[in-house]
């Protein structure tokens, strides 16, 4: 696979390490979440057959975490963003 890195251009996916669903960004606050909330965050997945937003880490590259929108049936990638930007947009500052 080729991931179109937003800063570096096309890169072989072999340079990256995969984590999984980008919902992992939305970590609940451990002091306020209930047991089920943290369980659901950690363990339950939409696992779509179609577009998924997912986290890839450019380990053999610039160490960016990326949010890649990819189709799990065709593997087509339609969007790649810096995860840090996504996290900020979803209100994770501080």
């Amino acid at each position: 696979m080729i991931i179109e890195h937003p800063l570096l251009g096309p890169r072989d996916a072999a340079e990256f390490v995969y984590l999984g669903d980008a919902a992992m960004i939305d970590r609940p606050d451990g002091m306020t979440v209930d047991d089920t909330g943290m369980h659901d965050y950690m363990y339950l997945r939409d696992n779509p057959a179609g577009d998924i937003r997912e986290l890839w880490y450019h380990e053999q590259g610039d160490r960016s975490w990326l949010v890649v929108t990819r189709n799990t049936i065709t593997h087509e990638i339609t969007k790649v963003e810096l995860a840090r930007d996504v996290a900020r947009r979803s209100g994770r500052s501080r």
Partner: protein, 967 residues
Amino acid sequence: MSQPNRIAGGQIDDKHALSFRWNGRNLTGYAGDTLASALLANGIRLVGRSFKYHRPRGIFSSGSEEPNALVQLREGAAQEPNTRATMVELFDGLVATSQNHRGALEWDLLAINDLISPLLSAGFYYKTFMWPKAFWEKLYEPVIRSAAGLGRLSELADPDIYDHGFLHCDLLVIGAGPAGLTAARAAARAGCRVILADEDFRMGGRLNAETHAVADMPGAEWASATCAELASMPNVRMMPRTTIYGAFDHGIYGGIERKTDHLVDSAGKPRQVLWRIMSKRALLCAGATERSIAFANNDRPGVMLAGGVRSYVNRYGVAPGQQVAVFTNNSDGLRTAADLEAKGIAVSAVIDARKGDAVIDTSGRKGLRSLRLNDGRKISADCLAVSGGWSPNVNLTCHHRGRPVWNDGIMGFVPAGDLPPGLSVAGAANGTMTLASVIAEAHDAAKMIACDLGHARGAGKAPTSSDETYEASAIWHVGGSQARAWVDLQNDVTTKDIKQSMEEGFQAVEHVKRYTTLGMATDQGKTSNTLGIAIMAAASGNAIPDTGTTVYRPPYTPVSIGAFAGRSRGKDFRPFRLTPSHEWALANGADFVETGMWLRAQWFKRPGEAGWRDSVDREVAMTRASVGICDVTTLGKIDIQGRDAAEFLNRVYSNPFLKLPVGKVRYGLMLREDGIVYDDGTCARLAETHYVMTTTTANAGTVFRKLEFARQCLWPDLDVHLISTTDGWAQFAVAGPNSRALLSKVVDSMDLSNEAFPFMACSECRVFGGTPARLFRISFSGELAYEIAVPARYGHAMMGALMQVGEEFNAVPYGTEALGVMRIEKGHAAGNELNGQTTAHMLGLGGMVSRKKDSIGSKLSERPEMIRDDGLRLVGFRPVDRTQMLSAGAHFLEKGAPADMAHDQGWMTSVAYSPELGHSIGIGYLKRGGERFGETVRAYSPVRNQDIMVEICSPHHIDPEGERQRG
């Protein structure tokens, strides 16, 4: 030496004779020959035996689709089984033998299988060999296994080397026949970066095998002129002998280039290079493959594909027979007769199925002698050129699970719309079957691609060419005989097998394929799949499009496993990471151990020491008695800086970190988000905004990754920055009661007294008159100990210098084994204990998980099953009989309890011999372990034949109060 079937002409160099050996016979061919053409030139027809019935088989085709002529190439360790003679470029000194026969090829003992073939019908093995039960592994299966298989591995290490490589292009053109050459030229002229790859050693495809004209010259000449033009262009890479074997995601194609397979010796260079080709676009110009017709005994040596016959006659200057008959169901077959006659070869009959004529049986035990026709005629022939029509080579278009669609016009499957993105198809692979239209289509396709990619230079005009008509008919199977008619030559699948399969309920294409093994041989059914589906359709009464297709998977043709591995074998399987003191250790008797990629000194053997235990016991004893030095560079080191570094650490460690003062080190416990202990280490605060974290050797990379995740994804607006400095600092543990005395002679002007530099202190400093260093007062051994770090370039010198200074204290270097012994003596958890299944509670560190803050893993670490009071706890063990040695991996059982899983109480994680205590010690996890000090339990290790009683004790076998390290 005479080559009885050699005729004039073709693209071979008859000035350049090559000698080779076939089954022990010395033969001669010419440069430009394949092994197959040279064998045919020498009149050799029988070249192998079939898979199941051990039927005599001859050369069937002239290309990579060859199902029959599989040979063992070369000898000794270089022996290469299952090699298609049709793809082997002849070289001087070539040695090949036939395969899959017991006894001589001509007198194969297993030909008995052919006589009992009714017993071996489709799926016979599923229905028997079940009684008596024990006979399967002992008798039936070994017999089946030894009869199955084709060629033989040498069982010696492959003597050749392989390489990988990466290529980038605008357009990859796959196949260099008329379509590929035309397309490559047009795209290259337009300015694209083009790669043109073809599996053949001579580009030109069918132009080399036919008598067509292009641009008013013979096709083969045009091909070679076009190749010359392309080779002269800087934006074109010509890759003959290169098979594009797979289409992967996002325009990546796999290519295998055979670099030295056409040479007698690879001379130390890679035999093959596996290319990963990143293309913006690709154009498949892979042509088509001819197929046979199913009629009785259609598998005899001498029965060949008509296109192959033309290749041998036109390209190789070989007559495949003296008396050739032609059997065709389409217009293409007739050209064979014309080409043969043009070369003066006798054509004994042209049997055109479209006129109702058909071959219904053949005879000739080890080679074709005659044919029987449906009108009763018997015709003499030693070669039958069969054409059952052409199947477009759509394989690569299906590698993303696309399904081709049926085209009645050409009686074949053609690519559908669901191609891999970026791939287009032109020429015969696309179902375009005549030369002029092939060239026009390829030219237009290339022009359009160039234009899409923004290359607007003139692509030029497509060359003119001769053209012909192509008419195919739906004649697949000739009845009229009870004898078997082969569909899949290599796997010995006949029309009867397919029919029986369907009668037994195996009707889906995949069921038929799996039940009969149709299309599953080394040719992936290139000549048989379409025919098989047509026979299925006829048997079920369905139309071919409703019957379905099978899925083509990579590779297009088989690729050596060695090529996929590239250089990564032997010692080069993975890189070595070496510690800064590696050379020193090498010179001082070290044995090394692989820990991940690292090589670490395991112990340092001294003269007179009989075994490793002697060395390790000495290293431990001397360290505890005086001072020892160990290279601990491999521990991960992460430089952490930023205004919010403290806050960040407080969120990633489960214990508090906000209040760590500058100049202090703290032990840190790191959990996974699921609450399991992930890693532990120390973290030193060097300055207000500057920390150095250490991790275990094994987790250095993954901890860094997780920290980056936390930094970028969870808390993107903390000002914190991470960089690995693992390789940058050579770090040495200096441990033992004399460590302070030793180091005070090393460190420049610094007060190392317990008051000035207490346990868990850290500082930047200088050593040996000015070399920058870092000093940490931390202890893994439990002794008074330090770790001192210098820039890695000084690591080698530092080790020597520490030893030199330490001479007066009898300092010893110690390795990972002694390190392990001392940490077990101290009850410190390491890899065996932190195996990803461990909770903080199990380690007795439940209290370290702060509940006053949110940190990674803290929430989920509190789930009920993870904090059970009756759960496992890390405790120590010693043998009741102190002379006995403990064994790691032993499970604990209560005295008298049955040895079964229900009574399993835990297991021993690590054991060591403690020189200080004089007996074996261990640590491990035991249910309710913390409450059971003094009890005895069984340590049961049946795989070690060990069953001993052990006493439960504190995991801190030595200095449980920790006085030494604080002293």
